[in-house]
Amino acid sequence: MIPELGHFALWLALGASLVLGVMPMVGAGVGRHDWMAVARPTAGTLFTLVALAFVCLAASFANNDFSVLYVATNSNRLLPLHYRIAAVWGGHEGSILLWLLMLTFWTAAVARFSRHLPDVLVARILAVMGWLSFGFLLFVLVTSNPFDRLFPAAAEGRDLNPLLQDPGMVIHPPMLYMGYVGLSVAFSFAVAALIGGQLDASWARWTRPWTTAAWIFLTIGIALGSGWAYYELGWGGWWFWDPVENASFMPWLVATALIHSLAVTEKRGSFKSWTVLLAILAFSLSLLGTFLVRSGVLSSVHAFASDPKRGLFILAFLVVVIGASLALYAWRAPSVGLGKRFAFVSRETMLLGNNVLLVVACGAVLLGTLYPLALDALNLGKISVGPPYFDTVFVPLLTPLVFLMGVGPMARWKDARLPDLAMRLRWAAGTAVVAALAVAWLHGGLGIVGVLGLLMVFWIVASVATDLVERLRPDAGKGLVERARQVPRALVGMMIAHVGIAVFITGVTLVKSGEVERDVKMDVGDTTTIGPYVFTFRGAQAVDGPNYRAMQGVIEVSKNGAAPTTLRPEKRLYTATQASLTEAAIDTGFTRDLYVSLGEAVGGSAWVVRVYVKPFVDWIWGGCLVMAIGGLVAATDRRYRARTRRSEAGIDDDPVVAAHARPSTTPASSTT
């Protein structure tokens, strides 16, 4: 009964999405306010219905209802409850349902938090999101119904893919999908604005917090995925340039470009058509990512079961959504007009540089991901290009990007002077060079790329510090506290996010140049030494988990003869799927990880053991977290909260924007 209820809710949701897609859109076109007013309640209904379907599926998992095909395929009685719930998105059908849940959630959120926007715009935005929901609902109902019954019911389920039985798996997909789908908001804002022909600074201001919110989720989602791969796949790597990883990284790069481009459009009214294009691209890449993962055109570690019918459907959907929005862009964008002029040396130019570099980086990833596919399409076979390509491409792109990261925020809008910038940043540059060389010398053996990495890190930190000092220095009778209060939150967020990049690069650089990996055959009592750490193998024993049997190695690590830490890596055999899995044991530290995993048994009591020392590896994810925190601080800037803004005039640090944006927002606010 419960699965049928869920299935029914999805059909009702399909109807609701159709209403949402048509009525407000037509209403906005002909100026019927009652039709436009349908948008908000329908958005809420749509979300409720999809959430109901989702809960029904989760309940089927919780109840071990193996008469549902999807549950029988992805769960098992022995699977602990929290993994049974996470198993809802462990397979294809459920992850699309999760996608849909997120999409309708964002739709409802836009409906809820858009009181200050003009009604016509809101109607169009929600209608566009309604069409997106319609497409995905149709996809679920036609090709991937998670509620399909299995007759006769299975006695026992086939179990969740062991790789996915991990705490990281419980939160990684929801986070990532929140980010992916969150970009649909910026997309819908862009399409709605193109339809209405109104693209101005206030449009950018309204889009910014939504884009930043999606970006935060995307950042955390990618970091979690990377962390999961690090300890679950047992290879000790944290990024594999795998097509599925690339699929999440591409929207991130474009979303990052979009955040910066929106800043220009909001502050200066420039880059309008470019910003709109980025908003369309960012979500298009999310869709493309979904296509690549779900259609099975690319082989990958994530290797989801693929079905050509599904691939064809997503492709058709892709063509309709992206094709239509790009056609709309080609039709409307030429009339958008240029923004204010700016000099060659100005903050605008630097942000343009940032945009170009990020988009080129995204293009490089896209090429590396699709080149194998293109070869295949041309009948040249299936291959993978792998890290040799990506590593070569990324360093030259990242270097100028990081350089601009230091200069850009210091440059004035419209017209900046190079000698002035050089003066202000000379201490930062000097400090960065000296510090990088000093650390490289103390550390030793870093190599040219390592020194370059350190240089980037110190450059970012020093330039952010310089920027901060300039903004806090007592000036014109205002003291430190007063000056600090004047720094907008968005700016603080930016600084935090940039420091996050520095933390991230620190991790990448030091892991790349300082990690030690060793595979050794170890018998009971054997030791191997890496730097100050002595690893002693104490043997392997059999242990049983709820749904697996495992061999557990016991390895003691001691540093300089201190009391040893015990690490217990496992090699598991999951009983239902007969899949074996390596579970690494990691001793996490602030400046290094000790990583141990079991290879093969090699006769008697000896095993091949992989032992890694990875300096500063956790800084990679720490950096992502700092970036996300920066995003959070920026997104909660109070000028985005319309209701308080009207009463507090002049909080903006840029009078031009205040003058530019306010008149167009006032009529909108009157609707509340």
């Binding site: 047992g234 594999f240 340039w241 795998d242 097509p243 058509s273 294009l277 369309i280 691209l281 298009s284 296509f291 259609s295 055109v297 082989s299 990958s300 570690v301 290797a303 050509p308 691939g311 064809l312 492709l315 892709l318 063509v319 992206i322 094709g323 790009l326 056609a327 862009y329 080609a330 964008a333 030429p334 699709l370 194998p372 596919l373 293109a374 070869l375 295949d376 399409a377 009948n379 040249l380 076979g381 299936k382 291959i383 993978s384 290009v385 792998g386 890290p387 040799p388 990996e517 060793r518 595979d519 390596t582 290879g599 093969e600 091949v608 992989r610």
Partner: protein, 176 residues
């Protein structure tokens, strides 16, 4: 004409969509290679496990052998590997690996963890030999006969079908 540049994104997307549509209907399959029927390129490379020991083309003359191009960074190889390990156990044909553009430690670790189906793996760090063989990417597989002539090439991961319907009969025919 000013409008035309706004059509560029749409144009790029249409081209991309066509590639994706074709890609959707593809399977890994063998392709005619200009190298088939030609002598295998000459090489002399150190082995992965032992840098002191080198293997050259001449050492392999007089027997039918299989060359499998792989790398630890290659995702498709992970998929192919268990099949290769099982195939090696059947002893149909000696398999030599070409460890392509890889780090020595990574390659050794990869084999230690997943099993080693190769008589030996040639360590081709800069990919020079791979280029001579016309490698598009990884994995690829070649069958070379007693005279050192390439008789078959497969691009992408091997499948059980290719092994049983193509490679095994071919090897039996060449081995007489």
């Amino acid at each position: 004409m000013k409008r035309a540049r706004f059509l560029v994104p749409l144009g790029i997307f249409v081209a991309l969509a066509i590639v994706l549509a074709i890609g959707l209907n593809r399977d890994p399959r063998e392709v005619p290679s200009p190298l088939i029927g030609k002598p295998a390129p000459a090489f002399a490379l150190p082995t992965l496990g032992n840098p002191e020991r080198a293997i050259a083309t001449a050492d392999l003359k007089g027997k039918v052998w299989m060359l499998n191009v792989w790398a630890s960074w290659c995702v498709a190889c992970r998929e192919e590997h268990p099949l290769l390990v099982a195939f090696a156990k059947r002893g149909t044909v000696p398999i030599y690996g070409l460890n392509y553009k890889d780090q020595r430690d990574d390659g050794i670790a990869w084999l230690a963890q997943r099993g080693d189906p190769y008589r030996a793996s040639l360590f081709d760090a800069d990919g020079r030999v791979g280029i001579d063989f016309g490698v598009y990417g990884v994995p690829e597989t070649f069958i070379i006969d007693k005279t050192g002539t390439i008789r078959f090439k497969h691009i992408g991961p091997l499948t059980p079908e290719v092994l049983t319907t193509v490679i095994e009969p071919l090897v039996r025919k060449l081995d007489v």
